[in-house]
């Protein structure tokens, strides 16, 4: 959207990205938690609230990553596709996006790992996720360190699995890079 030819669309997307990047996730979580029910007059479950907050946050970052990926594809690629009679949509789907996706995969991996870890923040609004449960366990067992170590290990397993998966995809996409 930031690449849009329509000014208003571009402005909205710039404002959105700048706001999300410029404010702490914790504040955004509270903002959605308190603000969304007031705006919609609906009783939204906590889990949904948390998911919405994380989605809004991540999408701003991902949109910037995608923009950089698209802009990193040489302009000649799009010219070559258009000169073959492909329309702009076809060019984007068949020629630009596959190359852009390959460009941004490492950055996207970082983003996903960050998302998993950021999800610990929604414990503040009382969602029973990993961090919340850890605190509960610490409270009931009076153990200081152990639950946190266990919790961290679980996060590590989650992120390591994701990293492996991404490395695998990256290697497959690189097949056209080898001489």
């Amino acid at each position: 959207m930031r690449r849009s030819k329509i000014k208003v669309v571009r402005w909205i997307s710039i404002a959105y990205v700048e706001f999300i990047r410029g404010t702490p996730l914790l504040a955004q979580v509270y903002l959605v938690y308190v603000g969304l029910p007031m705006l919609t007059q609906l009783n939204i479950p906590d889990f949904t609230t948390g998911a919405i907050a994380l989605t809004i946050h991540a999408s701003a970052y991902i949109s910037e990553t995608m923009r950089s990926g698209i802009e990193a594809v040489p302009y000649g690629q799009s010219e070559a596709a258009r000169s073959l009679g492909m329309n702009s949509r076809r060019t984007m789907l068949d020629i630009i996006l596959p190359q852009a996706f390959k460009n941004i995969l490492p950055a996207l991996g970082n983003q996903f790992i960050g998302n998993i870890k950021d999800s610990s923040l929604v414990s503040v609004i009382g969602i029973a996720e990993l961090m919340y449960e850890t605190t509960t366990v610490r409270g009931t067992t009076a153990l200081g360190l152990e639950p946190i170590i266990v919790c961290s290990l679980i996060y590590l397993v989650l992120t390591l699995t994701l990293t492996r998966l991404l490395t695998f995809i990256e290697r497959r996409l690189k097949s056209s890079d080898h001489r």
Binding site: P74, G76, Q77, E79, A80, A81, R82, S83, L84, G85, M86, N87, R90, D94, I95, P98, Q99, K102, S175, S176, D177, H178, R179
Partner: protein
């Protein structure tokens, strides 16, 4: 037939094309020469609207393609273009580079497209490279594939934008040979090049451009041996030793 009438193009306040008029007949090979920044490439890119002219008209087979209502994608289907930087699609194998547009744009059957692709690969002498990725190929080979890719749309005219300028010297001739073959087959072509020997050999008519204008146009013999304008003489004296 392509007719260019009073074509102007400026980037911001910089005027690149200044009242261009020319006609390209079917089956004719036009070679555009001239110093850097003279507007050669811009003129070529205007012919398939990769650049939008500021003013003037380009009439291809009685259709003015500068008209907003014209479907430019359809115009481009019939006009192949070959770039200085090849611009092959790096994520597709050679045969897919060639067949993609015929299948997706012309809705050609995959089998037919691949048959056509193989014929074109034979024509450019790279039949055995069908399944490799572009990065494994030399510049000369990539450019020959790019020519095959443009031909796969079965265009009625071909535009070449300095097709050999990014090549190592020993690869220039293999690409020029392919273009010469096309000329013999009667393909309508507009070629921007700095290869003067090639221009002389392949061109039916040479346009000499400078400062956004066509300064002189003539047959190769006349233009190279008896240039009329001072600017043409000056240019040729610098490049022909």
């Amino acid at each position: 037939m392509i007719t260019v009438k009073h074509l102007y193009k400026s980037f911001k306040s910089h005027e690149v094309l200044n009242d261009i008029n020319c006609t390209i007949h079917d089956g004719e090979v036009i070679v555009i020469i001239g110093p850097s920044g003279s507007g050669k490439s811009t003129l070529l890119r205007c012919l398939n609207l990769l650049e939008t002219p500021t003013r003037g008209s380009i009439i291809i087979d009685e259709q003015d393609i500068t008209n907003q209502k014209v479907n430019i994608d359809q115009v481009r289907e019939k006009m192949g273009m070959v770039f200085q930087q090849f611009n092959l699609f790096p994520h597709k194998t050679v045969i897919k580079n060639i067949c993609h547009a015929p299948i997706r744009v012309k809705k050609m059957k995959r089998g037919d497209a691949e048959q056509l692709g193989m014929d074109l690969l034979s024509k450019v002498g790279l039949r055995d490279k069908k399944d490799v990725y572009p990065i494994t190929l030399s510049g000369g080979q990539q450019q020959r594939i790019a020519i095959a890719r443009a031909l796969a749309m079965q265009p009625t005219a071909m535009l070449f934008d300095e097709p050999t300028s990014a090549l190592d010297p020993e690869m220039v001739s293999e690409v020029l040979a392919v273009i010469k073959d096309l000329a013999k087959e009667g393909m309508t072509m507009v070629i921007v090049t700095h290869e003067m020997g090639f221009a002389k050999e392949v061109g039916d008519r040479i346009l000499f451009m400078d400062g956004g204008q066509i300064v002189e146009e003539n047959t190769p013999e006349e233009l190279f041996h008896h240039p009329q304008h001072a600017r043409t003489q000056n240019f040729l004296s610098k490049i022909l030793h």
